[in-house]
Each structure stands twice: as C-alpha cells, then as structure tokens.
C-alpha cells in the first residue's frame, strides 16, 4: 500500500480561529465561567464545608487554627450522623424538643404570612381609592419597611417590656392586668408574630398596590353592571387578577419569615424556655453562640432540607397551575 502523505491541514488565520472558538461551545462555557466561579467560591464551597462539618464533632477548641504565635492543631474527628441523631432525638440539648421547634416554626411562618396577607391586601385596597392625602398615607405606610429590622425590633422590645413598657404601664394605670409578654408561652408567640406583622405589611402594600393598579377598571365596572356586590367583585375579579403577584410575594415572604431571627432574638430571646424559638432562632442562638460547629452545621443542613422541600413543592405547584392555564 502506497503511503500517501496526508498534508497537514492548512493553518487557519488567527481571526478565523477566534471566530471558530466564539461560535463553538467553548464560548458558552467562557460566558458562564464568572458566575460558576463566583457561585463555587460563595455558595458551593461553604455548603460542602458545612456538609462535611455536620459529620464531625468540630468546635471552637478542636477545629485548629493559627493566630499570631499560637498554633492549635485540628483534632476534631468524624462522628458520622451522630449530630443528626442527637438533634432529632433531643439529645443535643436537655431543654429543647426538636418537634417543639418545628411546631413553633410552623406557627410563626403561617401566623406571620396570614396576617401579612390580610393586613397587606386590606391596606392596599384602602389606599387604592381616591382619597385625600393618599401620598402621605403611603409614605407613612413605608416607615416600618424603611427602618432597619433590628432597630424596629429593639423599639418594640421597649414597648413590650414587662415592667416598664408603655403597653403594660398603660394597662396597669387603667387597673387592668399587665400582659406577661415573656413569661407566658402564648403571649410570647403572639408578641413576636405581632411585631413581624408590623414589619412585613409595607412590602405587601407596595406590591399589592402595584398589582391592583394593573387591574383594568373595565373588569370591575362590568362586574358591577352585572350586579356583583363588593365581596363578589373582590372574590371573582380582584383576587384572581392579584393571584400571580400575591403567590410570588407569599413565597418570598414564607422564605424570609422562615429565615428571620432578629425579631425573635430581640423581642423574647426565645423565652420562656425556647417556647418562642423557631428552628432558625435556636440554630443561631445555641450551637453558634456555644461555637459547636458540628451541631451548628447539622442544623444548617436540616434547615436547608426543609427549604428544599418547600421550594420543590412550590415549583410543582407553579408547573401545575401553568399546565392548567
């Protein structure tokens, strides 16, 4: 067989080479590279580190470190799923019941979101009418939102002070019983939900107001001509038109409320006896302030798992509703 010398392919000019590169997949990868790198550094690396720590007994003194002249060797060890078992079987702490934390988380999230929706939609509808000083009312409505969360929470903790707060001082001066804000579990739960309702309503007002203004006035007029009363118009025109925006706001609110601990931390500190602690406020307060990284990381993973279930459930719901439409 005669050997046929295969000529090397002619070298492409540089601009053609760049052009081929830019047309291929490589360019796509190049484009997403910054995001991938940023996410790996900011999200994936800490997350993997967290997963790894959750299987160890790492704490402040055995995690090792190098500070100035002091070098502390890392001596923490793998404990398998012991941290998770301890948390779920209430062995991580004598005074905290995991089921109790979950229950309080549920009460807190559902309570806050329900009150947010009721007051948010109600106030937005009031502000959507042609009233005098509408701009001023809207500005006042924004105050809780404009205030940093912890400042608002601190201010409320002054109002709710058992012995010197304006509410209890007012009640006792009227010869009424003072409210046991931090010593009665139900009052404590009520207090934190009340403060967070106050804080969260403005966001609903703004977004719902935007949604209300985008509803064509003709729809309401047509319904009115057909003889629908106020409730029927609200139920059959306003609410369905608000649904897309309200659904999104409620999803965001659920996640924010779930993750919020500043209000609980400043108002009751979880008192009495963790009754007003949610899984987030407890996960912040205990394993992190005691610097037990293993338990803390395991709590983080449990919280991540709960939020993942929620997000998956939500995306299913969205897909179903889109399929119906």
């Amino acid at each position: 067989m005669a050997k046929v010398a295969i000529p090397p392919p002619p070298a492409l000019p540089w601009n053609a080479r760049v052009g081929r590169f830019l047309n291929g997949k490589a360019f796509a990868y190049l484009c997403i590279a910054p995001v991938v790198i940023a996410m790996s550094v900011l999200i994936f690396y800490p997350m993997i580190q967290g997963i790894l720590y959750s299987f160890t007994n790492a704490n402040d003194s055995n995690i090792g470190g190098h500070i100035g002249p002091n070098i502390i060797p890392a001596t923490y060890k793998n404990v398998g799923i012991q941290n998770y078992i301890d948390i779920l079987t209430n062995k991580a702490s004598g005074s905290v019941q995991f089921a109790g934390l979950l229950m309080q988380t549920l009460i807190w999230v559902v309570g806050c979101v329900v009150f947010h929706v009721i007051f948010g939609v109600g106030l937005a509808m009031l502000l959507n009418r042609n009233i005098r000083f509408r701009g001023a009312y809207r500005a006042v409505m924004m105050i809780p939102w404009a205030m940093p969360q912890y400042v608002a929470a601190l201010a409320w903790s002054f109002f709710l002070n058992q012995n010197y707060g304006i509410i209890n001082v007012g009640l006792t001066s009227l010869h009424l019983a003072a409210v046991p804000w931090t010593t009665d579990p139900n009052w404590a739960r009520f207090a934190v939900i009340m403060v967070n309702t106050w804080l969260g309503v403005p966001f609903y007002v703004v977004t719902v107001l935007g949604g209300l203004q985008s509803i064509p006035a003709e729809l309401n007029e047509a319904a009115a001509i057909d003889g629908a009363n106020w409730w029927q118009r609200f139920r059959n025109v306003t609410l369905p038109m608000l649904r897309p925006i309200l659904g999104l706001v409620m999803l965001l609110d659920t996640i924010w409320t779930f993750n919020l601990f500043a209000v609980i931390y400043f108002i009751t500190g979880g008192a009495p006896g963790h009754a007003s602690d949610t899984i987030i406020s407890y996960a912040y307060e205990n394993p992190i302030t005691t610097h037990n990284y293993g338990i803390g990381a395991a709590y983080g993973m449990i919280i991540l798992f709960i939020l993942m279930i929620f997000t998956i459930g939500y995306s299913r719901a969205v897909r179903v509703s889109q399929g119906v439409n």
């Binding site: 402040d60 003194s61 190098h66 100035g68 058992q162 010593t183 579990p185 500190g269 009495p272 302030t289």
Partner: protein, 418 residues
C-alpha cells in the same frame, strides 16, 4: 513593549515595598520603646466608663508612640463577638476586658497571647483566687482587674434589719409585697447567673473543683433553687421579664418598688443613683451578705470578676502589653476602685486611703470571704448559656426544681467530660 513591562514591574515592586513599610510601621521597632495602634474593648457601663477612659487618655498622653483607641462592647455580647473576630483573624481588639470564666476558654482556643513573665512587677500582688482564672496549662493569659461576688442589696427604709437566712428573707419579702401598689419584696432577672447563690445556699453547687462531677442537680442545689421558686409562688417577686430582667430588677430596686435584690459591686455605682437612694435618701442603701440556708452557716456567693488579656493576633503585641501593664497597674486599679466602688484584684490597692474611704468597698470588704469559686474550666465559659431556658421553665411552673436542674446537668455533661 518589553520596556513597559519593566516599568510596570518596578512600580509594582515599589508599591509592595511601600505597603509592607506601612504594615510594619504599626508594630514595634527592634530595640526602641514599643509603638503602634492598640484597640481596647471595655465592657463597663455608663456610670463606670469615665474612670477607664481617663486611664486610656492618660496613657496616650504619656506614650506618644502608642495610640490606644477604646471601644465600648456590651458585656453580654463581648464573649461571642471576641471569639468570632479572633477566630476569623480580623476585627479583634488588641486588648480586651473579659469575664474571669472566659480566659481559660479563649486561651485553650489559641486566641490569647502568652503573658508569662511579661507583667511588670510580677503577679505576686494579685489576689490568688482571681489570678487562678488567668492560668491555663501553666501559662499566664491574662491579669485580673476586679473581683466580685453577689451580695444582698436592701432598702433600709423598707428593711431595717437585713435577713440572715433565706427563710427570713421569704417571710420579709412576703410582708413587703403589695401587688396593688406595684411593691415587691424581691427581684431577680430570671437568668442563670443570679440563681447560683440559691444553688449554693443548701450546700449545692455547680461542679466539683476538678470539674469531673456535676453538682448542679444535687439534693442541696435542688432544695436551694426551690427556695427561689417558693418566693415566686408567694408572689413576692417583681414580675419577671426574661428579656429585660437584669435592667428591670435593678430599676425596681432603684425606684424603691423592690425591697431586696442580689447583685454585685459593679452595679452599686448605678443603684445609688436611683430615686430611693439619691441625695437625702443615701443612708437607705444597705449591703449585706447573701442570707444562708441554715442559720449560722457560711454565706456563699459565686466569685466573679474581670480580666484583661491581649489578643494573640495583635499587630502591635509589645505596645498592647505595655498598655495592659499600665491599665492594670496598682495606680490604675486604685483609680478605678475609688471612682466606681469595685473591688480591686491587687492586694496593695486595699492599703490606699482612697480605696479604704470608699463606702461600697468598705461594705464589701468584710464579705470577701463569702466568695465561692466558680469552676476554672476552659468549657465553663458556655455553662450559663445552656442554663437560662431551664431556669425559665421552672419559674413559669412548666418544670420542677429537680426536673429543670436535671436538664441543666444533662446539657453540661458533654462540656465537662470532653
């Protein structure tokens, strides 16, 4: 092209050198006196703060090469704030005032600079008990500033003779309580630290001296804690606010609405400013030993106090040590004690006429023997964190004295066995 690269490299090298020079300028030079910037975290409240700030400004005036910046940090958040900053390696101060129970924990974690042989005049002048909290593994990681223990503060207008036993205290508290007028016999914050004298009263405790046995749920602790729950049952306690309990109990005492209170010397300078003790009422301010469980027993109260330490990662360690030595000198301790009525940790300070003349110190000095050590254990810094919720459950009636303290013991087991 090549030439431009060379210029770039030269500029870069110069910039690096300049930065390096800036960095090293904050630490001390070879043989000269130390220099640099020192950050100092103090935890004294508003009434105690001026004495500390004066020491800082005096030091700055006398040492032009060192600039000390004092920053206030709330005592309740100082532990976590320092631990987090020290671990992260940024934002930690060079010198910090800590609770005595934190020092060995911070030392174990490598946050603190070894101060062995760096203390001017040695450590022989310090009271032995507070000094012990500064040692870890045979090395010195801090110096004691003040020592303290809880006492019974009482309002002489309401309580002519202070109770010596807790049974007397209960009877008196009950008769002094008038809910309709908002008048109460006793106040407590509802947190863990202020429960310790009750645990000690009937022979109970926290943990054994070697840190191996947990006493917090022993029979003595349970019956002692029950005495506080009895006061609560009688209705003699000012209604507790678990979030603001510390401030509220002090305010109640200051306004005369609360007749008796357990607290330490650090609060005295604030308590006497209350309407019940200001001006013409000054003579109503009473200090006595914590009442005992059985008559004639020794009063027992938890030893507390504050230390000064230097952060291991300090960028100017020599300047920080120089400041620490000034901050905790006999002269500074005398100045703080005279101004604030706190108990100095140096023996020589007690010979100073100004300290002797201070009324609060004069009242506290004879009670110094009632101080009972808390565990010197690197894990003891966190023991009070796990404690609060259980105390709250007992005070709200959700749990019993035994049940609550059993849960505390369970929470402590991993801390003391590791």
């Amino acid at each position: 092209m090549k030439q431009r690269n060379t210029i770039f490299a030269v500029v870069l090298t110069l910039a690096t050198l300049l930065l390096a020079a800036c960095g090293s300028s904050s630490s001390s030079g070879g043989g000269g006196s130390p220099s640099g910037n020192v950050t100092f975290w103090y935890t004294e409240g508003k009434t105690e703060e001026p004495a500390i700030l004066k020491i800082v400004s005096d030091f700055n005036a006398a040492n032009p090469k060192i600039k000390v910046t004092a920053q206030y940090v709330d005592f309740n958040s100082a532990h976590d704030k320092f631990a987090t900053a020290a671990k992260a390696g940024s934002g930690a101060p060079d010198v910090i005032r800590t609770d005595i129970a934190w020092t060995s924990e911070f030392a174990k974690n490598g946050y603190l600079l070894d101060l062995t042989n760096k203390i001017t005049g040695g450590t022989s002048d310090f009271l032995p008990a507070p000094l012990a909290y500064n040692q870890y593994n045979g090395k010195l990681y801090g110096v004691p500033e003040v020592t303290d223990f809880l006492v019974l503060y009482y309002n002489k207008a309401l309580v002519p003779t202070p109770p010596t036993t807790l049974d007397q205290l209960r009877t008196m508290a009950k008769s002094l309580t008038d809910k309709a007028k908002g008048q109460y016999g006793f106040a407590t914050e509802g947190g863990s630290y202020f429960v310790t004298p009750w645990l000690f009263a009937d022979g109970g405790g926290l943990v054994s001296d070697d840190g191996k046995t947990i006493f917090v749920n022993s029979a003595g602790s349970v019956s002692g804690f029950q005495r506080l729950l009895d006061l609560n049952k009688d209705g003699s306690l000012q209604p507790i606010d678990f979030k603001n309990g510390y401030t509220n109990s002090n305010e109640g005492f200051k306004s005369g609405k609360v007749a008796m209170l357990f607290n330490g010397p650090w609060q005295a300078s604030d308590l006497v400013t209350g309407s019940a003790f200001a001006g013409a009422n000054a003579a109503n301010f009473g200090v006595a030993a914590i009442p005992t469980g059985t008559a004639g027993d020794v009063p027992r109260s938890p030893t507390g106090g504050q230390n000064y330490s230097v952060y291991a990662g300090s960028s100017a360690p020599e300047a920080a040590v120089a400041f620490l030595n000034y901050l905790d000198s006999a002269q500074s301790q005398i100045a703080v004690a005279t101004a604030n009525g706190t108990l100095p940790a140096r023996q020589s300070a007690y010979a100073d006429p100004g300290v002797i003349a201070n009324k609060t110190i004069a009242a506290f000095k004879p009670l110094l023997t009632s101080a009972k050590s808390r565990p010197v254990n690197p894990n003891a810094g966190s023991i009070f964190t796990a404690f609060d919720a259980d105390i709250q459950n007992a005070l709200t009636g959700k749990d019993t004295s035994q049940g609550a303290l059993d849960k505390v013991a369970k929470d402590w087991a991993p801390l003391f066995n590791s």
